[in-house]
Symmetry: C2
Subunit: 333 residues, 2 copies
């Protein structure tokens, strides 16, 4: 096995010091005389010594590894969040163990337990929803956790997100001012905290405030074909303006509308509540609530580094600014 030919012992022997000193050199401890440090470094280079991170992890109880829990890697929403996380993790020299939980073999709490067994120093949780068992699992551990791009009604968990209620209200207002009065809300999952506690209340309040009646909420519309198939229902219900949680779903509606000869935005306006790359490359391009996904990820990871170092946190719930990006799926005024 070539796997670990040279250990800290070999270096110590060659450099005629103890392993403790080698360890100090490796870890940049200042209590080493300049010339011994250089001598040790020379040996390290000559032997191509590389510390065994597993042994370091066991001895120091820090693995410089963080866990990422994500529902679906191929959902660009999470991919863009992950990118922000990854960049900051690299900066702070953390590795990332990624656990995808879309696969129903892997429940949230199992995923969490798996990460804890691997002794990750922290966890970033990105699923839209935080089931009770997952919250329990987090509460049982000392390992810090940050929610990224989502919210929980557990106020104890630090999170980074946008003000979904405000954003949705602003989007509804845009539609309303464009003269659309038969507004609908299209949701992926009605039971996530973001939807149940933010988007739905925002929608209901808006409808009530403007005397627009009950309105229409469509649930469990999750991908392109769901959106495509929903379109005829929307027409039947006389919808002329719609907010859609996922942009890929919005594209489905858009394509169905185009195929049916419906004029967008004249006859129907579409706004997506989370924009990825996709929203901007389809035609007509989608008006969108642009969440700063990369930044949410980056800030979440930065926050986690602080928690892992037991630094003081000024605020646990961070809200980043969003933008309402007007494109071709709403009136050009």
């Amino acid at each position: 096995m070539r796997k670990q030919d040279i250990t800290i012992y070999d270096v110590a022997r060659e450099a005629k010091v103890s392993m403790a000193t080698v360890s100090r050199v490796v870890n940049g401890n200042t209590n080493v005389r300049k010339d011994t440090r250089e001598r040790v470094l020379k040996v390290i280079n000559r032997l191509h010594y590389q510390p065994n991170a597993v042994a370091q992890g066991l001895a120091s109880k820090r693995t410089t590894t963080v866990g990422l829990i994500v529902p679906d890697l191929t959902n660009l929403y999470f991919a863009e969040l992950s990118k922000g996380i990854d960049d900051i993790a690299l900066l702070y020299k953390y590795n990332i163990i990624i656990t995808s939980i879309e696969n129903r073999l892997m429940k949230e709490d199992q995923a969490i337990q798996g990460l804890l067994n691997k002794q990750v120093d922290g966890i970033i949780y990105m699923s839209d929803n935080l089931p009770e068992e997952a919250a329990e699992a987090f509460k049982r551990t000392d390992t810090p956790v940050v929610l990224a791009g989502t919210k929980s009604n557990h106020q104890e968990f630090p999170s980074v997100a946008i003000d979904y209620m405000k954003a949705d209200t602003e989007a509804l207002n845009l539609l309303y001012n464009d003269g659309k009065k038969n507004l609908a809300l299209v949701l992926d999952d009605p039971d996530t905290v973001v939807n149940a506690e933010n988007r739905i209340p925002a929608y209901k309040k808006f409808m009530a405030d403007h005397n627009l009646g009950e309105g229409h909420i469509y649930s469990n519309i999750k991908d392109h074909s769901d959106g495509y198939n929903l379109y005829s229902q929307l027409r039947q219900d006389g919808i002329d303006g719609v907010i859609v949680t996922r942009d890929i779903t919005a594209v489905g509606i858009l394509n169905a509308a185009t195929d049916a000869g419906t004029k967008i935005p004249e006859e129907m306006e579409i706004v997506t509540a989370s924009a990825t790359q996709i929203a901007s490359v389809v035609r007509p391009a989608l008006t969108a609530i642009r969440q700063p996904l990369y930044d949410i990820g980056a800030v979440a990871m930065r926050l986690l580094t602080k928690l892992m170092n037991n630094e003081e946190i000024d605020q646990k719930q961070i809200e980043l600014p969003y933008e309402l990006l007007k494109k071709q799926s709403t009136a050009n005024k």
Copy 2:
């Protein structure tokens, strides 16, 4: 610290056995009497004992962790590959450490060294290109490596991919049979092995075989706006049929064409050489070489599990079938 309140010792004491026996129970070793096994399991459940994977890794020299090297998480091509990898990894109980190398702070060989230091049991490499230093790094280690969705001229590395040359030729043939004679090749990076040794030769050979002249190869066209901006050049060069490596780039060309009033596919046909979700949701939908990305990832991971178990491999270079999926960006015949 609650981090590790209970160890194998605690279980051993409570169950009145040695830690060795507890270890055997945890690892499903059969050499344990039924009633002691049950007694131990009961204690494990009562104390909520969870093995420390880091200690296990150090003692057993297996971490049940594999490393993934990927250029860009937000590129759906790699995301879809990753999904296949992830599913099989879950099945075989491996965790995944993901390392993104798009960030120029992280070179390939550093990424590899980082994974090796973490003592991963295997590595899947997904970048389009395998730089010489990376190949060297792989050769120095015993840790098995599999290339997924890419090729290398290092035949010693197992890989899973499609026959790019054949696929491209078939696509060119489609354009040719639709009557397009001024064919172009649009590449992300001309120096990757896949492009330099497969796509470009296939293109040149096709052009020569059909007396179509030198042809036009456009390089370093990597994203939507690159594609969009390239369009006028294509027109200027009289191109009427084009193969594009990335689908997001193809969409850029498509959108520019639509904006310019060019009829697709009548005046120009577009085929993308790698289809993700995006290719199918734009309008007109893109004709594409559909690589079985999920399967490539899954097969690569399966292959890696065999290598990690020192099982015999019947073939190192695996080629999976692709499909030429005709959509609206080529003639409907």
